[in-house]
């Protein structure tokens, strides 16, 4: 279903090979910096894929997705803080730097927040839904700014990444491969999800909610589950991000980050699995390299985005679709 034409296969396979070999190539060329740059790309890709589940498959235009990334990050940060200070959270939850504890916790907490926000927001639809998800994300943003103990506006520095048996997160190359494997696993999970009964219902709800109702399915429960899964994925990305940058701040939850994630999904192709990965790579690489030429690269990015929306809304993979049809 996803890789139905030659061109997409070529792009995906060559892309995967490049990603797998990247640390080797980068070290060999003496540009170790690329490893951390691409780790960031992989993490953002994970967040973007989780957003694509909502946007591209579920038809849920959530403008507050960054909030869940931030929440995942803060779980890591807060647990780290309480571990480093050797003082339990709320008096009884011990801190931790163990990735096997921290990462699942981040996913769980993000999922919980997504459940509450989703339960309220999904009572609305259309423009209301869009605005409400944005507003809730802002609320969470302000909440974390108010948490003075964890740095408030300035954020919180971690001085070490999480620990995990047999591996060393602080080694950039090892961390890169952990992230790569996480991304691949997540994409595979979403691939199965979308083909499953649940996935078909969600896609049906996005296309024609009225018909889903008359078939006897209550759309609300499924939309909510979709929202929660997306939020959990974002939380996972946030936890990885906190580990990578060894820093968390409310900026991770700012709505502009939500917007950037949406741009990544759009450029690559909504409703495809690999599109968001390509989109995130494009966006970050553009930011890195265009940013070297002019600090005002956004002034070009803005109109380009408008043009893409108006003329090529299916993104890169959509263009490949067209090419495949013409060739095939």
């Amino acid at each position: 279903m996803m890789l139905d034409n030659r061109w997409k296969k070529i792009v995906v396979i060559s892309g995967t090979i490049c990603l797998v070999l990247l640390p080797v190539i980068a070290s060999a060329l003496g540009h170790g910096y690329f490893i951390s740059l691409f780790t960031r790309i992989l993490i953002y890709s994970l967040a973007a894929v989780s957003l694509d589940l909502l946007l591209g498959f579920g038809g849920l235009v959530s403008l507050g997705h960054a909030a869940f990334v931030g929440i995942g990050g803060y779980v890591v940060g807060i647990l780290y803080y309480h571990s480093a200070e050797a003082e339990p959270l709320f008096g009884f939850i011990p801190g931790s730097e163990n990735a096997l504890v921290v990462l699942p916790s981040a996913i769980l907490v993000a999922a919980l927040f997504a459940f509450v926000i989703g339960a309220l927001s999904l009572r609305t639809r259309g423009m209301h839904f869009i605005m409400i998800t944005l507003a809730f994300a802002q609320m969470i943003f302000y909440f974390f700014i108010g948490l003075e103990t964890y740095g408030g506006d300035d954020g919180l520095s971690l001085y070490a990444r999480n620990h995990i048996p047999f591996l060393d997160f602080s080694d950039d190359t090892q961390f890169y491969y952990v992230t790569l494997i996480s991304l691949i696993a997540f994409v595979f999970f979403i691939h199965r999800l979308v083909q499953s009964r649940f996935g078909l219902v969600i896609r049906g709800v996005a296309l024609n909610e009225r018909r889903i109702n008359t078939l006897g399915i209550s759309p609300y429960n499924y939309k909510l589950a979709c929202f929660v899964i997306g939020g959990a994925g974002a939380g996972f990305a946030g936890a990885l991000l906190a580990n990578q940058t060894e820093y968390v701040s409310p900026g991770m939850m700012h709505w502009s980050f939500s917007g950037e994630l949406m741009v990544m999904v759009l450029i690559g192709g909504m409703g495809t699995l690999f599109g968001p990965i390509l989109g995130s790579a494009t966006f970050i690489l553009l930011e890195e390299f265009l940013g070297m030429y002019t600090e005002h690269w956004m002034v070009y990015m803005g109109p380009v985005l408008v043009l893409i929306v108006i003329f090529a809304p299916k993104g890169f993979f959509g263009l490949l679709d067209g090419k495949g049809k013409r060739d095939g």
Binding site: L120, H128, Y142, I145, H296, M298, V304, V309
Partner: protein
């Protein structure tokens, strides 16, 4: 007590700013069914142009006129070039395209005016304060803002319920093809409505200039508040915009003024301050959530 009234008036004044923003936005939402994230950019344009002209000429009146003109003109150009292609598209496309506009305008202002915030002086004639009640001294400028807002609200009400253009606009909202068939130029109508919406945003911006700082990104903070207003008030409804704006303005202002003090009764000093500030920032969103649970379509949804 006097502090209470003073903060209430401040809340009113913020409410007026929010009303001007949300009236424009709710019109665009309700009539053209398009979601425009870049609405805050016109607020910003109003503020920047106003500040620049006032700084250059010393005349607030000129600055205000320039601000309104700039906001309306840029608005209509944007409508013609961009929005027009989005009316029939889905909400996500509209969100993404208008997000692109935000990126563009924010960066443009940084390019033209630099990163430092601009300052704008209150016009000398109304820069003083007046004693409203014994012991309560209140800036005249803020009273003027309230006055202008009420005046605009009345004008809008007259426009939409009493004039033919207003009827056409409301009719265009419910049936675009029909009204086109009746010979009304729908494209022109939409451009004008959009221009009106952005003019109101520009007005809000130029009036807010002296009170807040004029900087890139100022549009987005007010935009999110505006969204909250519209969610609470109901999409497409001017009445909803009035009620929502006043509610949000007052709750937000009073919350910031009094919550830290209230919390200090229960918590220690610094916790109370930061907790209070955080809670105050969250107050309107909590209000929004509460309204949503009770009325998912807002307090006064326009029938569509």
């Amino acid at each position: 007590m006097l502090l209470f009234i003073e903060q209430l008036l401040n809340g009113f004044q913020l409410g007026i700013t929010l009303f001007l923003m949300s009236a424009g936005l709710t019109l665009i939402f309700g009539i053209m069914q398009v979601i425009n994230l870049a609405h805050g950019s016109f607020y910003m344009i109003g503020a920047y142009v106003g500040a620049t002209v006032v700084g250059a000429t010393g005349s607030f009146l000129l600055g205000a006129v320039a601000a309104l003109g700039a906001a309306a003109t840029v608005g209509m150009v944007v409508e013609f070039l961009v929005l027009r292609h989005l009316y029939d598209r889905d909400h996500l496309s509209q969100v993404l395209a208008t997000f692109g506009l935000i990126l563009f305008f924010n960066e443009l202002t940084r390019m033209i005016w630099g990163r430092q915030p601009l300052f704008m002086d209150v016009p000398a004639a109304i820069s003083g304060s007046v004693e409203l009640l014994p012991g309560l001294v209140y800036p005249i400028y803020r009273l003027v803002i309230i006055g202008v807002g009420v005046f605009v609200a009345i004008l809008l009400w007259l426009l939409f319920s009493r004039t033919r253009t207003g009827m056409q606009i409301r009719a265009g909202a419910s049936d675009r093809q029909m009204i086109g068939a009746l010979g009304v130029n729908i494209n022109l109508l939409y451009t004008l409505v959009f221009g009106l919406g952005t003019l109101l945003a520009g007005l809000a911006g130029v009036m807010a200039g002296p009170i807040l700082s004029v900087e890139s990104g100022m549009g987005e903070s007010i935009l999110i508040l505006t969204f909250v207003v519209i969610v609470i008030g109901g999409i497409g409804s001017i009445r909803g915009a009035v009620v929502g704006a006043l509610l949000v303005g007052i709750v937000d202002t009073m919350g910031r003024a009094f919550l830290p003090g209230i919390l200090r009764l229960f918590l220690s000093g610094s916790h109370a301050d930061s907790g209070g500030a955080a809670l105050a920032s969250m107050a309107i969103y909590i209000l929004m959530a509460a309204v949503l649970i009770w009325r998912p379509r807002g307090l006064f949804p326009a029938h569509s």
